[in-house]
Amino acid sequence: MRFFVALLLWLSTCFAAYADDFSYADFARIPIQHEGRIKPMNTFALVHLERFYGKTRIDDMSATQWLARAMFDPAAAMDQPLFLLKDADAEAMLNLPPKSDHLYSFAEATAAVAANQKLMESLLELSPPELSAGQRAVLDLYENTSLFAQILLSNTLFLHLAIDVPVDADAPPTAFIDYYPYMPELKKSLQALVARKGMDLDQYAPAETELARGLNTLTMTLENSEDNTLLRVIPPTWGGDEWLSPWAVFHSGQGSPETAESMALWRNLAVAYQAHDAVAWQEASAALRQKAEGFSGVRPDALSLEMAYYKWSPLGKSMALYIAGFVLTLLCLSGLPKVRVARLLAVGAVGAGVLLHFITIASRIYILQRPPVGTLYESLLFVSLIAVLFGLFLEFRMRNNLGLLVATVAGSMLLFASQSFSGDDTMSMLIAVLNTNFWLATHVLCITTGYGFGLVAGIIAHVYLIMGCLRRDPDRTLQVLRGGYGTALIALLFTSLGTILGGIWADQSWGRFWGWDPKENGALLICLWLIWLLHSRISGHFHERGFAVGLALLNVVIALSWLGVNLLSTGLHSYGFTDKAAWVLAAFCAAEFLFAGVTWCVLWRRERG
């Protein structure tokens, strides 16, 4: 509470400035170490703005502009509506005035948090599963304001303070860093003043009041900066691989001539922003960027690629192309005139989509320097690429629009599902046991490839069942199912190999091949399901209808094994995601069962005549 009140008071002591005609190209490229990875400032800004505001722009202000303003003009930034709080319960708990846009400024949010300190303390003692959605939103707001406070205070070392305390220096000091050497002297003067005139400010002359106020500001600046570590922009010229924030450099005394140079450049940047000096801003940001990029361990080409990745967002475009391809494929199947044109366009759309999809994954491999799948999000990207590529192969072999349908359905649905992860930096570092390129490249790629083929087989079964219900040509319908059978065989190859490789990895790192862990059992279930379908087809227990319904339900088995098991292990992913995902997953499974049941009944009745 004291911290927040002090913070609000302090922020009002900074000179206000607003700059909007700066060039942000170099500033956006300055490397920063965040969550264990060196990334461009632009990514840091995007991730935080999305987290607070739910979008990556505020009206005409880019994320980088927003970040620069928060860092160098905190007084203005704290009044800007920023924190999105959509939960009505949370608004009521914090006594926040309801707003139509649900946006609250830092000043409003911190005041509400400070006024409800007891509520915060009680919520922090609850474990995540015990929290209601509203309580979770309150805690999120609390965390977000703390995070934003780190950003607001990150450059207070260099910012021009609105205080006027005379000290015995050649040049008049303006920022904390100038005043710091004189603080002991100022403290002595203030102590003498208090001894002489007491604590009552009314008894002080104007210059004496300014001394008391100025020293208070300086002390608060120092106190508020002690754990300011978020903005890790100073490369470790002292060795090791941990970058430090300007304040951390100041507090830890990690100095070197190189560090001093970086610190001076950051100061120039702050001064240029506050003075609204576009030329000086450009010079300072370009110099900072070049200096940090020259540091070993920074890969400028990876930073450029990451900038382009976020600027062009090839994945979103790829998804749009798949959706367009899907519509065009439906046109091809409709039997309307000009089908040939639609078919060519559909192939073109899927081809372009695959290219962008591939570029996305290749960029991530280059930026992160590891195989493409290490997280759930990445598995969605990879599985969809496999499904789309195999769809194209099917189309090339069978030329009956089946492959196009498979590619566009799998591509658009899986990429759509991946959008729910876009709130965080999706390029995250991996924990120790996953931090092995060999197993990521073998087991993980194998099993996710198996998921991809399995989903394709499932979609083909759907197509077969729909064609059967619509009384399409029996020969062509059967040809579709043969494709499904072949795909199921490939899926079995990859899932069983992937599962065994997973066991071998577990044997290598934990000492047991099989431990009946939910994720292992999930993979085993997919293999068993496929083995069951294929054998029962051979033994004659399943004819076309039964086999197709079973293959269609493979999608449910895959969804449960791939995503569903995460719901069993508490704390694996954020609870917000899990709650939502549980419902989506349940709805998906229900819809699949309904589809399988209805088509089975229709075909069964027809077979009985």
């Binding site: 170490q33 570590t229 069978m398 570092m429 065989l489 939910p518 029962s536 227990h541 098991v565 069993l568």
Partner: protein, 360 residues
């Protein structure tokens, strides 16, 4: 024999058709059950059991289903696998599955796994079971009798080659200590001041701390509790006896000393990047240093030593190693290669006819 009806029936996929859905249901139930009863109990109940009791109804457990599958597979391979080019892939793939199952069987029957926690410079020549606890009675430092915890039940009398009997008054799978009020009576040792109070068990069985209260004839009533340093010790006729309750221990044919350890995090975060320990193996005259990291265990004399966890938060106080002896560990490697080879052969023969353009 080839014509025997039963053998022919066993070799067909019909058994598989009915067994697999049951096995899948068992796996699914056993997986979801982990959330409620923990991995250890779920594994014991569903996967490592021959019979699963649902009320009074006995259903086949994981081991029985696997055994039936193995028999079916074996008969298929022996009696119903004519060696033809068209089915060569299927034969090889089934051989791979069989190797996998046989490996599982050998592992289930012969492997020992456990852990040892070492502080810096500590040495160990034994390791401990994660789950199995034992009551050990020793005379002058030598073990006389070991009773698995499953046999240590309330009211049980334990007698053996020693001049007293032990009556178990109470036992708990997970206990804590509480103050004992009132007269100390016949209680001896720490039992004069404290008593055991049962706690709800953890789902992760390795976190449970077992304890028992027992009356030793002619001596007194004691408590034995896993984490307690001073467990019942007494003298009868010049011999000193000790009764201890603890994890079952296995001897290593060598000793292991922890020389150094290091944990690395991704810079600026708490996310661990790697764990590394340096140990000294001493085996007779042989002394050898080895480095153990995540994904890179130490293998020595049939034992494998893994980096399991660093204990004690930021200032690591000890390092836990998982130690496994498993004679079946080579099977998955051979099986996966065989299985893949088989499936690849089958796919290359079959796929061109399955995925192709419809004949006009």
């Amino acid at each position: 024999m080839k014509n025997s009806k039963a053998i022919r029936w066993l070799s067909k996929p019909i058994l598989l058709h009915w067994l697999l859905p049951y096995l899948m249901a068992l796996v699914a139930v056993g997986t979801v059950a982990q959330k409620y009863i923990g991995l250890f109990d779920s594994q014991r109940l569903f996967f490592s059991s021959f019979i699963v009791w649902v009320g009074l109804l006995p259903l086949p457990g994981g081991r029985m289903v696997t055994a039936l599958l193995l028999v079916s597979l074996l008969t298929k391979l022996i009696v119903a696998s004519p060696w033809r080019k068209a089915t060569a892939g299927i034969f090889v793939a089934h051989l791979g599955v069989m190797l996998l199952l046989v490996g599982g069987l050998i592992t289930a029957a012969s492997s020992a796994e456990g852990y040892v926690a070492l502080g810096k410079n500590d040495t160990a020549s034994r390791f401990y079971d994660y789950h199995q606890r034992e009551l050990t009675i020793s005379k002058n430092g030598a073990v006389v009798m070991q009773v698995p915890i499953a046999d240590v039940t309330k009211g049980k009398m334990i007698a053996g080659d020693f001049p007293f009997t032990i009556k178990i008054n109470d036992v708990c799978r997970n206990c804590t200590m509480a103050n004992r009020s009132g007269d100390a009576g016949d209680f001896k040792g720490p039992a004069q001041k404290v008593m055991l109070a049962p706690l709800e068990g953890y789902l992760e069985d390795e976190r449970n701390l077992s304890g028992a209260e027992m009356t030793i004839s002619g001596v007194g009533t004691y408590i034995a509790f896993e984490p307690m340093e001073h467990q019942p010790e007494f003298k009868i006729g010049g011999d000193s006896y000790a009764v201890t309750l603890g994890r079952a221990a296995y001897a290593l044919p060598f000793s292991l000393q922890l020389l150094d350890y290091a944990k690395e995090v991704h810079p600026g975060t708490d996310v661990p990047r790697s764990y590394r320990s340096t140990v000294l193996i001493s085996d007779g005259d042989l002394h050898q240093r080895a480095v153990i990291t995540m994904n890179h265990p130490l293998r020595y004399k049939g034992y494998t030593v893994y980096q399991a966890s660093f204990n004690g938060g930021e200032d690591t106080e000890s390092v836990s190693f998982a130690i496994v002896q498993n004679s079946g560990r080579v099977f998955p490697y051979v099986a996966s290669i065989t299985l893949c080879l088989g499936l690849l052969i089958h796919l290359s023969l079959k796929l061109p006819t399955l995925i192709r353009r419809a004949r006009a």
